[in-house]
């Protein structure tokens, strides 16, 4: 193909105007040649023969007249075996390799191969003459505990392709041709284990989308029981700074019962990514007995990296997620934070001199956010397997005010809202998810009617507490005081978890069901107590027993002994 070229005519921040000859496409990738370096960019507008490009790098040193090469390809990532455990920037550059090549700093214009250069033990699953289409599996390679399936590119058009040749089982290089396909017109295509996928198009190689109806267990009681997340669903975590968004996401990344976890650190602190990098390889997934790093990919475009690449990073992450979904896996994508992503859009929109919407965010903010979250979903693949992508995005609202545009646009499209509250985090309550203001439309691990019932007691308890602030403890009836204490108990021992305690930090669904049953019974019993002093003492003691229970390993004799202690204690005071 002929390369289309052009030259720079103007530059403003990270936006370059380019005069071009022949044809260009919107959203195609182009490179500006500066001092022998190739700076990557994306065409985001074409107007009067001038293409406007956002540059994914710092734009210092570019001058008018610098040559530009258009690639004709949309902004894409490479998919193939060997992506797991890696750390990429927003453009899928492997950061450790970059450090090896360039040292301490991120040099611009250096783009490295994301797919490790090595051989894999390939087993074909098609034979000559088989029909294939986009997304068909042609074979597989083992990668850690997974079977990484090698697929026909998702962008392949037409359904009259047949396998012309396929290699024998054995070691093959990741980029060597392993299969040749041919269509009815006689066109052929060489396939390797690596495929290229544009990042801004949802991958639709499935037969139908299904309702997300199965809980994605996070081992957090407040989420799994009260505010569940479904496989293939979406949820958002807005919260002011210091409320623990990142801590919560890390916990979900660690304990979430998904096959693959993709963490997109988008415009946040580099230090937090370092924590994952140092901590995750040490942690063992109890289900598989292997390091949880082996199921993790990190996309890390921290706040000090160029803004345009930050915009791309969320798309890069979701494209990787869709790739693993096509293998029949359940993928959890955690994006921290989508506000930074939206701000990146705002910066570009400002440079393009578009008419601003609320708080100067572009008018297309809502539809862009909606399109991103809609890439989550539970699907039935063409071969009948069911797989899912779940997206959880944190939101950093300015001033902690949920009325701002990004939070509002996100709330419209997600299935669960985990709002973090400053009061709860200041009181060191973890997780700081507000149990009454937050909501979820998904089904949890416990019967939802009973959960609603428990929540109503919590609401009532909060009301009593408000009232008590005015009339004092003296002016509150014993019955109301009991309700208040019940709500406090539910909050303290069910909604809160001790993230530092290895046992309590991850609560499995069976345990949640059992504990909820007991808690439900506690909440619905009347107690033979009239003095407030006695009521307080009773609930304090009960809380202590519950906390001790949380410290025991599920299913052990100690666990059962403490369960008995809890039950006997509250039943001893229960009225008939």
């Amino acid at each position: 193909m002929e390369t289309v070229t052009g030259y720079v005519t103007g530059i403003n921040g990270n936006l370059a105007n380019v005069k071009f000859e022949k044809a260009v496409r919107k959203n195609e990738v182009a490179y500006i040649l500066v001092d022998g370096k190739r700076l990557k960019g994306e065409v985001i507008r074409v107007n009067n023969g001038i293409a406007s490009m956002q540059i994914y790098e710092m734009s210092n040193g570019i001058k008018v007249g610098d040559p530009v090469e258009f690639t004709g390809e949309l902004m894409s990532v490479e998919l193939g075996p060997g992506l797991l455990t890696q750390v990429f920037d927003g453009l899928q550059n492997p950061l450790p390799d970059l450090a090896e090549q360039c040292g301490f700093f991120l040099e611009r214009g250096v783009y490295l191969d994301p797919i490790p250069d090595r051989e894999w033990d390939f087993t074909p699953s098609v034979k000559v003459g088989d029909s294939v289409e986009a997304g068909s599996i042609i074979g597989s390679v083992p990668e850690f505990q997974f079977t990484n399936q090698i697929m026909v590119p998702f962008t392949l058009k037409g359904n009259d392709w047949k396998v012309k040749s396929i290699v024998e089982a054995g070691m093959h290089h990741v980029r060597s041709t392993i299969c040749v396909i041919e269509n009815s017109k006689g066109e052929t295509m060489d396939l390797s284990m690596v495929i290229t996928q544009p990042i801004k198009h949802a991958n639709k190689c499935y037969s139908e989308r299904l309702r997300p109806d199965e809980p994605l267990v996070t081992k957090l009681r407040a989420i799994d029981t009260f505010l569940p997340v479904a496989k293939g669903g979406t949820f958002c975590v807005p919260g002011p700074f210091g409320a623990g968004k990142t801590v919560l996401q890390h916990s979900e990344a660690k304990n979430g019962e998904a096959d693959i976890v993709i963490v997109a650190a988008c415009g946040e602190r580099a230090g937090e990514v370092v924590e994952i990098l140092k901590e995750f390889p040490e942690l063992i997934d109890p289900k598989t007995g292997r390091s949880i790093m082996e199921r993790t990919i990190i996309i890390c475009n921290t706040s000090s990296m160029p803004v345009a690449a930050r915009e791309a990073s969320c798309y890069t992450a979701v494209t990787l997620a869709e790739y693993y979904r096509q293998m029949g896996l359940d993928v959890l994508l955690l994006a921290d934070s989508t506000s930074r992503w939206a701000q990146a859009m705002r910066e570009m929109s400002g440079r393009l001199e578009e008419i601003p919407g609320e708080e100067a965010f572009p008018a297309y903010l809502e539809s862009t956010i909606a399109a991103f979250y809609e890439r989550a979903g539970k699907v039935r693949l063409k071969d009948g397997r069911v797989a899912s992508v779940t997206i959880g995005g944190s939101v950093s609202p300015a001033g902690g005010n949920f009325e701002e545009p990004v939070t509002q646009a996100t709330l419209k499209v997600v299935g669960a809202f985990h709002g973090l509250s400053r009061e709860r985090s200041d009181a060191r309550k973890y997780p700081a998810i507000h149990p009454v203001d937050s909501w979820s439309k998904y089904k949890g691990v416990v019967d939802m009617d009973r959960v609603e019932d428990a929540r109503s007691i919590l609401k009532k308890s909060i009301e009593v507490n408000q009232m008590m602030k005015v009339v004092g403890e003296e002016g509150t009836s014993s019955d109301d005081y009991t309700i208040f204490q019940k709500g406090e108990l539910l909050d303290a021992v069910y909604l809160q978890q001790n993230s530092f305690d290895e046992i309590d930090a991850a609560c499995v669904p069976e345990r949640q069901r059992l504990e909820f049953d007991i808690m439900y019974d506690v909440l619905h019993k009347n107690y033979d107590l009239t003095e407030k002093k006695d009521i307080r003492a009773f609930f304090n003691q009960l809380r202590q027993e519950f906390i001790d229970w949380h410290g025991t390993v599920f299913g052990t004799p100690e666990f059962e002994a403490q369960q008995k202690k809890v039950t006997e204690f509250y039943l001893s005071k229960a009225a008939n």
């Binding site: 403003n12 570019i62 950061l95 991120l106 921290t302 705002r346």
Partner: protein, 430 residues
């Protein structure tokens, strides 16, 4: 070699435009005798941001492009020197031109970072004991105008155990600048200090250069293996300068007039804080004054999302409640075995003291326990919270035990019995 242009086409705010060719984005130029930097190119129209401000610039003034970006000299000769935002000496010393390095360089590769794990001792108990400063941490001091934040910074500069101090002053009152200089000279810290000072009356563009200058120099010292502490005051002035420039350039404002990239521009500076594997480190302490004591104001709000905690300076001392050092867990477990216990125990009691104080002010009867708390609170504020206290961490912990022993019985403190046995001061020693 250098071409001179003499036809300035427009002068708006601090931005002038001139028609020229072959100019690079971000390059330095001389407009008259003031430095300027290229901020925008449109065909042959070059927009230049004039550092000294465009006041008095004439349409026929000479414009010369220097063909290089903004740079700062780096060598050990910097130590003890004071510069302005454009890198010009303020202290009558010679201008430095050797070993020029560009400012605002690329971001540090996250995979080369290490987990912060070294404490920086400051001799201030409210920092060392309660919210330990950790090497490579970035922390703002949230404060309102009138609080002694600059005094606090100079005390930290004098007392902190670091190799190099880089002070970046933005929009400083001239008196404050002199106070910094005199304090550091008197305290003998000037020998390992570099200062980049922009005072309130200096051109606004120079204000936005100060953090980049300070951090570029800090980065080089850190690469040489030095432990560098960067003090920035006041980042709200930096943000306001950015706002002023953005508005004159007719950028669409996002929130209370601040430009949409406020978060990114603050983050790219704060994120320079780093602990480099096999070399030194950069720790950043910045002052953020909160207009109207409002933490939801865009500057403190965006800062809070970037930094690793904050110190709240209120009524002349570091508030124990609003303040938080997110990295303190990384270090306070290995200082002394009683560090965490004393920290937690005293803060819990201090919180109860606040409640008692409230009760007292509302006219409730004080119980014996309340009286104990009131005594404790008074001693705590006098002996530990006062900013003029300068004692090492170990002494501060011992002092903590003394205060506890002075006011309470051991079982009232909620501290583990084993620690109490070991550390509780004997009565006769008091």
């Amino acid at each position: 070699m250098q071409k001179v242009y003499t036809k300035i086409e427009s002068i708006v705010g601090n931005v002038v435009t001139v028609r020229a060719e072959g100019v690079r984005n971000g390059d330095l130029a001389l407009v008259g005798d003031s430095y300027a930097t290229v901020i925008k190119l449109d065909n042959d129209v070059v927009s230049l941001q004039v550092f000294a401000g465009a006041q008095g610039v004439g349409t026929t003034d000479e414009v010369r492009f220097l063909g290089k970006p903004m740079m700062v000299s780096f060598s050990d000769n910097l130590l003890g020197r004071i510069f302005d935002g454009a890198g010009i000496p303020r202290d009558n010393g010679p201008a430095l031109t050797e070993n020029m390095i560009p400012i605002g360089g690329p971001s540090f590769n996250p995979s080369k970072r290490i987990l912060p794990n070294k404490m920086i001792r400051t001799g201030i108990p409210m920092i060392d004991v309660f919210n330990t400063l950790v090497e490579s941490q970035k922390l703002p001091i949230f404060s309102i105008s009138g609080e002694p934040y600059n005094e606090l910074l100079s005390r930290i500069a004098l007392q902190a155990e670091v190799d190099v101090i880089v002070l970046g002053g933005m929009g400083l009152k001239y008196d404050d600048y002199l106070a910094f200089r005199d304090t550091l000279e008197r305290g003998g810290a000037m020998g390992h200090t570099v200062m980049f000072i922009h005072t309130a009356s200096d051109p606004i563009v120079e204000c936005t250069l100060v953090p980049d200058m300070a951090l570029a120099v800090a980065e080089q010292f850190a690469l040489e293996g030095k432990r560098v502490l960067v003090l920035l005051t006041d980042m709200t002035n930096f943000a306001d300068a950015q706002k002023e420039m953005a508005i004159t350039m007719e950028q669409v404002p996002s929130n209370r007039g601040y430009p949409g990239d406020l978060y990114s521009s603050l983050a790219s500076r704060y994120e320079k804080a780093v602990d480099i594997e096999g070399a030194g480190s950069i720790t950043i302490l910045g002052v953020t004054t909160m207009p109207g004591d409002d933490v939801t104001h865009p500057v403190p709000d965006n800062t809070g999302y970037i930094t690793e905690g904050q110190y709240y300076l209120k009524n002349g001392h570091i508030e124990p409640f609003g303040s938080l050092s997110r990295l303190k867990q990384n270090v306070n477990g290995k200082t002394r075995d009683d560090h965490r216990a004393v920290m937690d125990g005293m803060i819990k009691l201090y919180a109860q003291y606040k409640e008692s104080l409230e009760k007292k002010s509302m006219g409730f009867l004080m119980t014996e326990w309340d009286e104990k708390l009131l005594k404790f609170g008074g001693l705590f504020e006098e002996k530990l919270m006062d900013l003029s206290v300068n004692i090492p961490l170990e002494d501060a912990l011992d002092l903590g035990w003394e205060i506890l022993a002075d006011c309470f019985e051991p079982n009232e403190t909620g501290i583990k019995t084993s620690l109490v046995k070991e550390r509780w001061p004997k009565k006769e020693a008091l």
